[in-house]
Symmetry: C2
Subunit: 323 residues, 2 copies
């Protein structure tokens, strides 16, 4: 029988899951709503049913070697989801422990950015690399850091919170309660805030001038920029400039050989990558210049979360392979 | 025969060395001038003679298991000293390779801050810890980071350059060519610069008002502060405030259980530690608050460099124990 693994990408709105070959091929996938369930137990019941249904159709000749879960604020060391702002289940949820009774195989859980990093290492563009950083640019800014071939978890399991390092002292209010965090400038919401900041400083005609705080999205800003909208283009210049400087600091910490930018905002491509690279080189310590690549994800769009979660399941033996 | 190791602490002015028991006891030690030798080969010849002389008197019944060297800009992966600003030997010096012919045992080299971190782990206050950071506050600011019980070297061997992360965007000119690096604010020279900055902003009577840029030292500032000099006290408040904020960022990267402050400036004790701790807690991400200790070195003053270098020599087998 062929070994397969299940990858679960738990998001605030939807949860995506897939049956994944060890080669990284997604054999089958599905999704259910996350935000409809007030109790995590009810959600798990529903998720379990959906997974068993998917398996019945697909894994008669296969054996599930394990289940990997990528979740916001997931703690790998404890298998918990802790104080996740975008989930309805508050406090510390012992997610892996609650999930284990539903399946007869090992269950691994980590945060979504760490899962993205492991996915990149096992199935993506970081194959063969031992020191790299993955930055996920979605609603927030997450990061996973791999050093000497291992994901950096730290004492508490919360290492790699690049989104909550300080970009601008006493800068924008962050959801974490502090000010000036990187994710208030570089993330989908940060991009939108910068658009309005630029309009405040210098009101100009823009394709986005009809947008409200509620209606504007980073995707709309990217589309406007691609159409030559000067304000929208400047938004990406600013975001890239701030991110590049912070990534230069990240290099001083961990000395990686590459940094991957993933997630929705990274789909803006060169609009973001070009100013990031320029600012990055400008701010790097001499010894690191022109050596470290800033790259897009090597995973197929739409499968990053599932593949990252699936990659959590070690090929043989212990999860210590990655910790 | 008892196994002993030799630890060499290479500094810009002096090089200290010692014969060290596996227990951490320094059996004998000595020092020679570093800055008298234009050619590294001549220095090594002299150092080797001094070491052999020290050994002759002390190790008849002992076997030297290895030699560890802590050096500014030392690269553990290559055994080189690269572009060290405070040494006369310019460019990339293959120090370990040049040293090996002088002794019939393994030679390990790393930078001084990494050596301090390993020394703390093997002989000092970090025994039993697997995730911690050591910050050395001397002429510059160095750092060594241990994650999962291993020193973080990164792809190039240059990880842990906390002194060259950005403290104040577009701030003070740093020797590295960039602006606003942490070590321009928090280091012996940073302390002195802050004294003059405070006097510029608000000239006041001070015990240090007779000091020039050349004559002022961080030790004099500490002594004045201990005598109640208000300007000198404010200097340490400022330094502690900047360092605490940067250490909070460092925690977001590596999630340590403790941070050690070592080196000359750290001898100011609570003058520095109190404002560091206050600023640190204030800037920490919620999940890390009141969990991470800021501690002084647990190594005997004056032996930190020798013990750190000695700790580089693995107790049995490969140096991979620490990498």
């Amino acid at each position: 029988m062929e070994d397969v693994v299940i990858g679960i990408d738990l998001g605030g709105t939807y949860t995506k899951f897939g049956i994944v070959r060890r080669s990284g091929e997604v054999l089958a996938s599905g999704q259910i709503a996350t935000d409809r369930w007030d109790r995590v137990e009810d959600f798990l019941e529903h998720l379990s049913e959906a997974l068993h249904a998917l398996m019945r159709g697909n894994v008669e000749l296969m054996q599930v070697a394990g289940i990997g879960i990528g979740a916001p604020n997931g703690n790998y060391l404890k298998g918990t989801i802790e104080h996740a702002a975008n989930l309805r289940w508050k406090g510390i949820v012992p997610f892996a422990d609650l999930f284990r009774p539903h399946f007869d195989c090992p269950v691994y859980l980590t945060n979504d950015a760490n899962a993205a990093a492991i996915g990149e290492m096992v199935f993506g563009a970081a194959r063969g690399m031992r020191d790299f950083i993955v930055v996920t640019l979605g609603t927030g800014l997450g990061s996973g850091m791999v050093t000497s071939g291992r994901l950096l978890y730290g004492h508490d399991g919360f290492a790699g919170e690049l989104g909550h390092t300080c970009a601008i002292p006493d800068g924008r209010q962050c959801g974490c309660g502090r000010k000036g965090c990187l994710e208030t400038y570089v993330s989908a919401s940060g991009i939108c805030r910068t658009f309005f900041e630029l309009m405040v400083q210098h009101p100009r005609p823009s394709l986005l001038s009809q947008e409200s705080f509620d209606s504007l999205t980073s995707r709309k800003v990217a589309e406007a920029a691609l159409q030559g909208d000067l304000v929208a283009m400047e938004v990406f210049e600013r975001a890239g400039s701030v991110l590049g400087a912070r990534l230069a600091d990240a290099v001083a910490y961990t000395s990686p050989e590459a940094i991957f930018l993933c997630g929705g905002v990274a789909r803006a491509g060169e609009l973001l990558f070009a100013p990031v690279r320029r600012s990055f080189e400008e701010h790097l310590l001499q010894v690191f210049r022109e050596k470290i690549r800033i790259l897009p994800s090597g995973l197929p769009e739409g499968q990053v979360g599932i593949l990252g979660a699936a990659a959590l399941v070690p090929d043989s033996g212990s999860p210590a392979d990655f910790s």
